[in-house]
Structure formats: structure tokens, C-alpha cells
Symmetry: C2
């Protein structure tokens, strides 16, 4: 079995408590004692039992990150930043996937927020409204990532989706495009991501004097395949927008692929702009213009917010807005 404090104490001829003091760097210890204990610690290769420590202290140092799917590039990159930053402040990250399914999201929340050893939860929800969440949130701190859903009493970190989308459209307009289509999600209340991006799209169109209720290609999810299908259908109908604003880079990738297959030149005939700026987009052909959220900023802000709430569960909640940037590449150059 594992080496415990008691084993070390026996070997060093001191009490368990003293060994614990040495391990935790307590001040008032006689140098001789400390040395003896240190020696015993090393000889037995003692490692503290973190479970026991957690039980006593009531904290585990583990936070949970709930994402729709870790294999989606944007979430993978976000998870990377979270793990990276959390590790740097001594926190371990558990990952769970909701699949974007509201039922599973609720399940996860009820079990996590109350039952688990998790100190707090970072939750990137697709389907749940803030109100749902507020009710479910248990005793444990919860920070929402992504779109700001309905007014809630929860901490939230994200970018200004409406403004980002507006800027994307403005950019396309500035490049002389007028028949601009939006692509992705449902735009409905259940899908906050597309709801806000669609809203920003409309603002941009209106500002340019274009029809704000123009073409909107809806998709059941944000994956490449859905965009391919949607674009294929669009072209079959003979519709020819001169620009496409896709609500995720993966959607844009699917769109680019389909346009390529149909022999439509990008950006000459149709310009394309994505959202998320995943790594792959820099290398697609043509390279994809996109909205780049400050992922590292989101991760740091979110983890910090969670830690702050751990120390002060009652404090006022905040809405943290993180910067973004419109990156212009070939696909809309």
C-alpha cells in the first residue's frame, strides 16, 4: 500500500502531526527534527493522499469543463487554453461532453453541481437557457462560457457576438458585396449562438441599407457536413449570393468544400467569412477570413472568475466581455 504520514512518523520517531507540519512547511520546527523527517519522507518516498486531504479541507482543486464536443476544433482549442491556464495556477481540469443535448446538459449539471468532488464548473452550453441553468445550479460555483443567454444571476464569459457579426458583415459590404447570406444554426431562442450572430448580421445589413431579413441558411449543427449540404441545396435552387457569413469556421470549411466541388470561385464569385478562427482556417484553400475570439483570454477570465467565486460564493456576479478580432484572409480579400 501507499506510504502514509503514520509510516513516516514511525520511521522518524515523531508524531504524525509533526510530519504533517513538515510536509506543509509549518514555521516552528526544530532544524534537527525537520531534517530527520525530511530524510524519512524521501526514503519512503511519501506522497500525500490527495483524497484524504480534500476530504479534510473540503476542496479538491479540480474544476470541470463541460463542452458540447471536445473533438470540435473550437472547443478543443478552448479546452487547451483552459487546461493550460488552470495547470499554471495549480488546478486540474476534468472534461465532460454534453453533446449539445439539453437533456444531457441538465443531467450533468444536477450531478456535477451537487454531487461531485468538483470545486466548480465551467459550462459551455448550447441548448440551455440561462433560466434553466440558474435553477439547476447547485451549491457549487458555475461559470458560463459562450453566448450570453437570458439574463441570469450567473457569472458569464464571452465575446460580443452581435458586434462581431456586425463587423463581419460590414467588412463584406465594404468589399462591395451586397447579396450576403448567413449560414448556421437555427436563429431561434434555443440556440443562443446563432441567435446573437443572426442578430448582428441583421444589424450589419440594416446599417448598409440591405435587406436585414435576407438569406439565412439554417443548419441542425455547426459541423462541416451540414454546411456542405446547405450550400449544395442553395446552389441547386439557383440562388447565388455573393458572400457567405458562416457562424462557425467548421461550417465555413464545409461551405468552401462544396463551393469548390460546384466550381464556384472563392472569393471571386462568393466571399466567405467564418467565426472562431480555428487553427485549420489559416491553412485552408483559400485561407479563411474569420472572427477570432481571444480564447486564451476567455480561459483565463473564466478560471479566475471561478476561483474568485470559490472564495466568495456570495459576491456579485459579473458578465465578462472578452475581446475579439476580425481576421481577413483570402476568402474575403
Amino acid at each position: 500500500m501507499a506510504v502514509t504520514l503514520r509510516d513516516v512518523a514511525e520511521k522518524a520517531g515523531v508524531s504524525v502531526r509533526t510530519v504533517s507540519n513538515v510536509v506543509n512547511g509549518f514555521q516552528h520546527i526544530a532544524p534537527a527534527t525537520r531534517a530527520r523527517v525530511q530524510a524519512a519522507l524521501e526514503e519512503l518516498n511519501y506522497r500525500p493522499n490527495l483524497v484524504a486531504r480534500s476530504l479534510r479541507q473540503g476542496r479538491t482543486g479540480i474544476i470541470m469543463l463541460v463542452l458540447p464536443e471536445i473533438n470540435v476544433s473550437y472547443f478543443g482549442e478552448l479546452a487547451h487554453e483552459v487546461v493550460d491556464y488552470a495547470t499554471s495556477v495549480g488546478i486540474t481540469v476534468q472534461i465532460d461532453e454534453s453533446g449539445g443535448d439539453p437533456k444531457r446538459e441538465k443531467e450533468l449539471l444536477t450531478s456535477l453541481a451537487q454531487a461531485s468532488w468538483v470545486d466548480g464548473v465551467l459550462f459551455s452550453s448550447l441548448g440551455l437557457r440561462g433560466v434553466d441553468l440558474a435553477g439547476l445550479a447547485g451549491s457549487r460555483p458555475l461559470v458560463l462560457l459562450g453566448e450570453r443567454t437570458a439574463r441570469t444571476s450567473l457569472d458569464h464569459v464571452g465575446i460580443d457576438n452581435v458586434e462581431a457579426s456586425r463587423q463581419a458583415v460590414a467588412h463584406l459590404v465594404e468589399r462591395g458585396r451586397t447579396r450576403i447570406a448567413a449560414l448556421g444554426g437555427s436563429g431561434g431562442a434555443r440556440d443562443a449562438t446563432s441567435k446573437y450572430r443572426w442578430k448582428g448580421f441583421q444589424q450589419g445589413m440594416r446599417a448598409a441599407g440591405l435587406d436585414p431579413d435576407g438569406l439565412y441558411l439554417r443548419t441542425p449543427d455547426y459541423r462541416r457536413g451540414s454546411a456542405s449540404a446547405a450550400v449544395k441545396e442553395l446552389l441547386q435552387w439557383g440562388e447565388r449570393p455573393d458572400a457567405l457569413f458562416c457562424f462557425s469556421d467548421e461550417l465555413a470549411a464545409g461551405a468552401l468544400r462544396e463551393l469548390y466541388e460546384q466550381g464556384v470561385r472563392v472569393p471571386d464569385e462568393i466571399a466567405v467569412v467564418g467565426f472562431d478562427d480555428i487553427e485549420a482556417s489559416r491553412y485552408s484553400t483559400p485561407a479563411l477570413s474569420s472572427i477570432r475570439p481571444d480564447k486564451a483570454g476567455i480561459a483565463k477570465t473564466a478560471v479566475d472568475a471561478l476561483l474568485r467565486r470559490l472564495d466568495d460564493p456570495q459576491g456579485e456576479t459579473h458578465d465578462y466581455e472578452v475581446p475579439f478580432e476580425l481576421i481577413i484572409r483570402e476568402s474575403s480579400g
Copy 2:
């Protein structure tokens, strides 16, 4: 504070132990008692304290997955499969990143294998040899993912990299290519991935009567940017292979991008085959041929192996070989 067994016991007028029995579905409990306890449980909304339970039982139900970087698509997809399968068998997954840095890998192993609450570790190493690992592996079960490194006494799950690479080359040869270049990694002992893939490449070349020590473009990592740079340099030198076998799909994506920029047509002038078959490759232009490892199979096999070892720490170790498939798409069609 949280509701404990004692709170419930008091409310229901039974002993703590009885409540525990009810919670754990123990058989012999009087229906009346069970009902009373159930009612109290629900009224107080009791949730077991998993930390305490773990302390008592010596198991946490958490496994750690160590990857170089979660934002690399292949690892993201693998992580997805692991989380998915682990969840289905009631296991939670923690993720940590090594950055592929041998020093950090060692650090993680020493701390994880001994100190943590983790029941076991799935380790996808880039830089460490099996021998290093064997020495470091602490008291906790450890299963290696990816390339089989030096002969070890550890469980290992992966595909036959040599054979996969051989088949990729054979495919290119069959399509009439003769000046085939390999791209990725160093081929050295420190980089098992490229070592085996390069070996398979050579076997394939030899079998076709081609120079087995032909062109090998080395890269410091497996990311898109490195391949772009390598291909750029290659073309500057005036070398013109007629096929490129890239040791990862991300490398292939970078290569495709650079070939596009330089106006080299794929597959007409140069055919390209990748390795990993990440989601994005189906949608690249042109769509990328690739070796598809059975990722779900790897995940399931690895988790199962870990669980088996938990029950029988002394059992014989295995080398699990998981199937793969060569997917042929436009880039080498």
C-alpha cells in the same frame, strides 16, 4: 453545508449505517424503513460525498488522459472517444497536456502515478521511450497509447504503424508514383511516431524496387506550419517528387496549402497521403487520402485494459493492436 448521511439518518430516525445501506441498494431492508429513508433522502436532497466515498473505497473512478495537446485534431478526436466510452462505463476523465515535452511528461508521470486520486493513467507519449516510462510508472496502472516504444512491461494500445505506412506507399506506387517523399518528424529513436512510419515507408519503397532511403523531409513537430515550411524549401531546391506521404493529416494540410500557393496541382503533379484521418481531411480541397486508425477502438481497448489492470494489478501485460484502414480520396486518386 452539504447534507450528509447523518442528517438523513436523524430525520428518518434510523442509524447512519442504514441510510448508507439504502443508498447503496442493500438487499435486506424492511420496506417500511426503506420508504422512510427514501423520503428523507429526497426531502433533504442528499448527494453522496464522493471524496469521502473514495477515501473509504480507495478508488475514485477517475482516470487521467495525458496527451501532447488537446487542440491537435487527432488528439481531440481521440479524447472524444475516450471520454465517450469512459462515461458509458461510469468513469470520469481528467485531461492533462504534456506539450510533447519529455521533461513535462516525466513530471506528470511521477506526480500522477503516485500522488493523485487518479485510478489509472492513459498516456500518449511523444518523447519518452518505454524504458523511461517503466521506471517512472508508480503504483498506479498505466496504459500507453500510440506508437509501441521499446519493449516494455506496460500495457500498450495502438495500430501497426509500419504496416500502415507500407500500405500507404504501396497505394501510391500502384497509382504510378515513383518519386515518393516522406514528410514529418525526425525518424530518430526519440520520436517513435516517425520512426515507425519511416520504417514502413522504406519497406514500401523497397518492395516496389524504389530507393528506400529516398527523400525524407524532417519537421520539428506535426503541425501544419512545419509542413508548409518544409514543402516551400523543397520546391525552392527544385526537387519535384510526384507523391508526398505525410506522417500526420495536419502536416498534409500544411503541405496542401503550400502546394496550392506554389501552383502545384494535387494530385496531378503531386499526390498527397496523410495519416490520422481527422475530420477536416474529408473536407479539404482536394479531399485528403489518409490512414484511418480505429480511434473508437483504441479508446475502448485502452479504457478496458486500464480497468482490467485495476482489478488485477499483477496480470500479464498486453500489446493490443487495433485495426486501421487506408482511405483513398482525391488527393491521391
